[in-house]
């Protein structure tokens, strides 16, 4: 007898729920092993992480604030992923968003102060879109591999941002970072640390859900991703859609960057590349490109980060544990994802 993988006729609905839940449990067990091996009590550590992420209002707010840029990057890359276009350039597009709003705040002083914030957000969005449009164009025009181009462009964007805050746009005082934005241009807070970005992120979720599931364009994107040949026969332009999807994808990642900069750092400085873009890719994939599911996944990923911060404070364990767990959550999930499309079947020798 041997085991073979057999393609299912339809994606399994029950597996789509069992696999993530089982994966999460397995990853907690794996994480417990890492903790135990390094002389820490896993139960105490997990308890500290849960308390650190959700234990009181302040921690909960902190987790939500962390989840917002993650959610938006996840939504952004998710659009490109529908066409099987591997935009792993969210990090760079996010950074361009931050550069964009800083540019407006610092140099567009000729516009009325109340207008700085909305215009800054939009400029960040546009720069993110342009940055994402480059690999989109290269792919559409010369079929240049997008995984590699988007990856390379991340580091160009990060380098440029570094140049700007270390030398070109540096504030006269201090050794790193641009001058702080005027306080009246900051993104307003609505509940403790939780800021206006919540409205932006949630309306994007609804908007994208509508666009992707209820409109003709959303249908076209899905068709290109699932069966490009059929799409072409239907007269759907793949080139045009690649570029459009990338522009939208980059716009949302860019907005994530400009929003978060206006809300948290209030300037361009070290730490602008906080891996939101890379984690966003993971979020889009884990949420199976569903905007609503992305909310939950983003909160879980954010909680691993904020929980790990608490781990450092209460148990003196390195906060890198958060990243270990983020990686560990993924590994069983990646291994298990096959079971939604395939099933294991035992084949007896004589049956062959």
């Amino acid at each position: 007898m041997r085991l073979v993988l057999e393609k299912r006729d339809n994606k399994s609905q029950s597996m789509a729920i069992i696999v993530p839940v089982a994966s999460f449990i397995i990853s907690l067990v794996l994480g417990a092993i890492v903790l135990a091996v390094s002389n820490a009590n896993p139960l105490a550590a997990y308890k500290a992480m849960v308390t650190g992420a959700f234990g009181n209002m302040r921690r909960l707010q902190y987790t939500l604030v962390e989840a917002m840029p993650l959610l938006m990057c996840g939504l952004g890359v998710g659009i490109a992923f529908r066409l099987k276009f591997w935009n792993i350039g969210a990090e760079g597009q996010y950074v361009w968003g931050a550069i964009g709003i800083t540019w407006v705040m610092q140099f567009w002083t000729f516009i009325p102060t109340p207008m700085l914030l909305p215009i800054g957000l939009v400029v960040g969005m546009l720069l993110g879109a342009i940055w994402a449009g480059i690999p989109g164009f290269l792919k559409a025009q010369w079929s240049v591999d997008e995984t590699l181009t988007t990856l390379m462009l991340n580091y160009v964007a990060i380098g440029l941002a570094e140049y700007l805050y270390i030398s070109k746009w540096k504030a006269p005082l201090g050794n790193m970072g641009t001058p702080e934005f005027l306080p009246q241009t900051w993104l307003p807070q609505i509940w403790g640390k939780v800021h206006w970005g919540v409205y932006i992120a949630l309306s994007l979720v609804v908007l994208l859900w509508f666009l992707l599931y209820k409109t003709r364009w959303g249908f076209e994107l899905n068709m290109i991703g699932k069966n490009p040949r059929a799409a072409r026969c239907q007269g759907v332009s793949i080139k045009r859609n690649i570029i459009l999807a990338m522009l939208l994808s980059g716009a949302i990642c860019g907005l994530s960057g400009s929003m978060n900069t206006a809300a948290i750092a209030h300037r361009l400085t070290k730490g602008v590349n906080a891996n939101y873009g890379f984690t966003g890719i993971i979020i889009a994939w884990m949420a199976n490109l569903n905007p609503f599911a992305s909310i939950l996944v983003a909160i879980v990923m954010a909680a691993l980060t904020t929980g790990a911060d608490a781990l450092q404070i209460t148990l003196k364990l390195p906060e890198a544990m958060g990243e270990v767990l983020q990686g560990l959550v993924l590994i069983p999930l990646l291994a298990g994802s096959i079971f939604t499309e395939y099933r294991l079947r035992a084949i007896h020798k004589e049956a062959i």
């Binding site: 390094s38 010369w142 995984t147 590699l148 990856l151 160009v156 380098g159 890198a320 983020q326 990686g327």
Partner: protein, 320 residues
């Protein structure tokens, strides 16, 4: 003259780590597996090498542990992408996330109690220092090639061997067949999955070795995230070298040179016209342009520049 020799020496020292990892990734990608986990794998290699060297004092043992660690991390990648047919991009990112996190975590747990279990700030009892070859090392400029660590001397043999193995042996042919046309390779009787497993693991071992070069020789120490993006440069270098192990060294010399130039000019007190950050991202920009030119050239005439055709896609013999 002295400046050029110094620059070259710095380039070679920095390039050694990059070259090992690049050779590894070339082999992995040639077999059709994209491993974006290089950054995490190299960092784990750097950490395990340093920790082993620190605890045992045996550098060769430290190298072996780093290679074993790199191989194990890549085994995870191989299992997920080959057996479980998971997405290679997401898997690679997961490996980088996990590897980076674990290395930074262990770096703060494996140190001596007197240093709060931290490895940062600790020194190795012994390191791979430079060994000068009498006579040869005093030749202007190229003398820089003869005053290097044993890890670099080993490369002088590994690079030609890696090229020979890929293009002149039946094993190399099998790798290329599996990466270009897995279905045909399978029909010829090559075990596609086995070949991919093997070279993904070997790629990881080389990445671990590359990481070890950093923490045992180039900057003998441990620091959080000490690879500082070298794993991503490796991905760029693989493209830049056109997936050819023989050309990998040219890429590392150019990229390593650009990076070392920043420090050499600063050290020589020469005022830079180009900001250092621009030099830092130049490798990525050069790669982007190279990749685009390759693609344009491939569209006008069938060139030999292309990436392995099956790169990034999973393969199952029973798939329709």
């Amino acid at each position: 003259m002295d400046f050029i020799t110094k620059l070259l020496a710095a380039t070679i020292a920095m390039g050694t780590s990059l070259t090992y990892a690049t050779l590894g990734e070339i082999y992995t990608e040639k077999s059709g597996v994209l491993n974006l986990g290089m950054e995490g794998t190299m960092l784990m290699g750097a950490l395990t090498a340093f920790a082993t060297g620190f605890l045992t004092g045996n550098l060769w043992f430290a190298l072996a542990v780093a290679m074993l660690t790199g191989g194990l991390l890549s085994l995870i990648h191989a299992f997920l992408t080959i057996t479980m047919r998971a997405n290679q991009v997401v898997c690679g990112l997961a490996i980088t996330m996990f590897g980076t996190g674990l290395a930074n975590f262990l770096g703060k747990r494996l140190g001596p109690a007197s240093n709060n279990f931290n490895l940062v700030g600790m020194n190795l009892p012994d390191t791979f220092g430079n060994i000068a070859i009498p006579g040869l090392h005093s030749i202007p400029i190229i003398g820089a090639f003869f005053d290097v660590s044993v890890l670099t001397y080993a490369l002088y043999l590994v690079i030609p061997f890696a090229w020979f193995f890929m293009y002149k042996t039946k094993y190399g042919l099998a790798i290329r067949a599996v990466g270009e046309a897995p279905r045909t390779a399978a029909a010829m009787g090559i075990q596609v999955s086995q070949v991919r497993y093997l070279y993904t693991i070997i790629g990881g071992m080389f990445a671990g070795l590359g990481g070890a070069c950093l923490s045992l020789s180039f900057t003998p120490s441990w620091n959080d995230g000490m690879t500082g993006g070298k794993g991503w440069i490796v991905i760029a270098l693989v493209i830049f070298s056109g997936w050819n192990p023989g050309k990998a060294v040219l890429g590392t010399l150019v990229f390593g040179g650009i990076t070392s130039l920043q420090f050499s000019l600063q050290a020589a007190g020469i005022k830079m016209v180009i900001p250092t950050q621009f030099l830092a991202f130049a490798p990525y920009l050069i790669t982007l342009v190279t990749l685009t030119i390759m693609n344009i050239a491939n569209q006008t005439r069938k060139g030999a520049f292309a990436s392995p055709s099956a790169l990034g896609s999973s393969f199952a013999i029973d798939d329709k």
